[in-house]
Subunit: 358 residues, 2 copies
């Protein structure tokens, strides 16, 4: 298997599929942090212990989850690691780390297991749209399969022990990626001055101990209007409660975003159409484009498709472009590292061709 | 004749025609300032004198230049006056003035005579491209026709007397509108840092007593990269010398702009194509657009056509849009005054339709 073949086919990626509430909810992710009782925590590793752990877990995974493909991160090219990161299979820390480490993943990318990240094991499951119960079942099953092969560090009083105390307890973190363009829309000077709805979302989430993050910190408008809501604390609360709190907030945010979209359609339709059609026009004709600008236009088009303002493109195509236009994917496709100006030109060409422009 | 019919047909406008060096030179204008010896200067008018002057000159024009159509400015609607201004037939001052005043003009807009502007008479002739000798002949002929009907204020020592001393002498002002996108191009950070060529044009023109104006003052980059070069002082220099100085500078600027375009094509082709195609894309798809933004894109397309980067549009169409998208024309076309937001939406629609987009 060549290095290039080592990566799964983009066409199979779960992110291109359908899910619940997908007009507003991009994706759901669940993650469990687990450590083995017969190894030290990562920060306390003795010489050679990282390597022994990686071998032990690789073998355990081969038995417990033979359907997952295993790659040793430290044997991959930098662009290959970036591709895995851009498909959410591994974390930024797992890309940057230098120690022996691995990742096991399913072909469609819905499951991944990180070996020797911050914790010995990080189990992850993904779905397009809002899929809390289904993912809960999936990650429990994966957890059970592994628990039959290894001995988890667990104390009755605290639950699962983790490298960082904020993960101790269930070790569960649920993150939901939302597309909130209408809630992010600032009214223009001279029209009704209201704070953008996203500010109210931040406040409501905080009251429930949830985190809302844009790409550039909590207060800024997120790049492309994509926001991640996740539960913040796992210790001392039953996982069912954490998930149901999150579900309740998400239901409200989804309704709120939909309502805001309808108001925009009534009050600001020309402005909305302008943003959507400019996005379409620029993506089909630009000769160079940064990923930040491209994401803004793809975001506008995503909104435009759901509001039936444009039907020249589909949501899966937009999702695919959001992944393929990222630096790791671009460089992987080019087969070499690219300077920023080269990436901007290649990104523009890729998008033009995918959207069927000349 | 209804008020609407009073205005000439846009299709006949000289600005849509061909001229010399038109890749760089948009248009040439010559103007003569003249006053009558048997009336006071405008600032010294006695009661009723403005009205008597207007009647006298209207009658003189009907005899001397029966091919010109005469309109009394003070009888027109505001949007009609704006349309005349946007076709360069009258000055901004002539639009804003409240006194009895008029304009005589040819159907194709190549000739106009302002009655009771700053001076009693302002004769103007226009051509697309660079046409100094031809326009010199044309304006002399017009001047001679009028001189046979009225008595000009003239002193052997000073020449023609004018309201403002800077016009005294020949009363001639020559203005040439240039499109200098390559000379205005600033190199991006990280590439060869050179001052834009337009700075050198300013300096060279100043040495010869010429004025270079962008839309927002001398030092700024002009809106749409359109610059006007004109002769500054008429007193004490023979008109032939003034015109030949201007011709020499213009020849140099034209060569310099062409050379800069070739360099851009070699060094910065992707950036150039990006600007041109984005302009095309946005003009064909925007749902609202300011005149400033539209002008920038029309300017980019004009450059793109000459550089053969795009052939989906022609220069006359671009010239037509630059006139039709202006507020007076938009409101004249709509048949009513429009709020700025309405103008931006109508402008976008007009441009989309003219460029054949859906």
């Amino acid at each position: 298997m060549t290095a290039r073949d080592a990566l799964p086919d983009l066409k199979a990626l779960w992110l291109l599929g359908q899910g619940r509430e997908q007009d507003v909810v991009i994706s759901t992710r669940m993650r469990l942090a687990r450590n083995l009782s017969d190894f030290h925590f990562k920060s306390r590793f003795r010489t050679g212990e990282a390597q022994r752990l990686e071998v032990a877990l690789r073998e355990a995974l081969a038995e417990a989850a033979p359907d997952l493909r295993y790659l040793r991160m430290h044997e991959l090219q930098p662009t290959q690691r970036d591709v895995l990161f851009e498909r959410l299979l591994v974390s930024a820390e797992h890309v940057a780390d230098a120690s022996p480490r691995g990742v096991a993943f399913s072909e469609d990318g819905t499951t991944s297991v990180l070996v020797n990240e911050e914790d010995h094991l990080r189990l992850q499951v993904f779905a397009a749209g809002l899929e809390l119960p289904r993912l809960g079942t999936a990650i429990d099953a994966l957890d059970d399969r592994l628990a039959g092969r290894v001995s988890y560090a667990f104390l009755e009083r605290y639950g699962y022990l983790t490298s960082c105390p904020t993960n101790t307890g269930t070790g569960l973190r649920v993150s939901v990626m939302l597309h909130l363009p209408a809630l992010s829309f600032r009214r223009e000077a001279g029209t009704r001055a209201a704070e953008p709805g996203i500010v109210r979302v931040h406040k409501a989430a905080q009251r429930l101990g949830l985190t809302v993050r844009g790409t550039h910190g909590e207060s800024s408008r997120a790049e492309g209007d994509f926001y991640q809501i996740s539960n913040q604390v796992t210790l001392g609360r039953p996982p069912e409660q954490a998930v149901s709190d999150l579900q309740e907030v998400l239901n409200q945010v989804v309704q709120y975003e939909r309502h805001s979209r309808q108001i925009l359609m009534e009050d600001d339709r020309i402005r909305l159409e302008d943003v959507v059609w400019r996005g379409w026009a620029i993506l089909r004709h630009a000769r160079r484009i940064t990923s930040r600008e491209a994401l803004a236009h793809l975001s506008a088009l995503r909104l435009g498709v759901w509001l039936k303002l444009i039907d020249a493109v589909t949501v899966p195509t937009l999702q695919e472009l959001m992944v393929r236009m990222r630096p790791g994917h671009l460089q992987h496709e080019a087969g070499r590292e690219l300077a920023p100006a080269e990436r901007d030109a290649l990104r523009a060409t890729l998008i033009r061709e995918r959207l069927g422009a000349k």
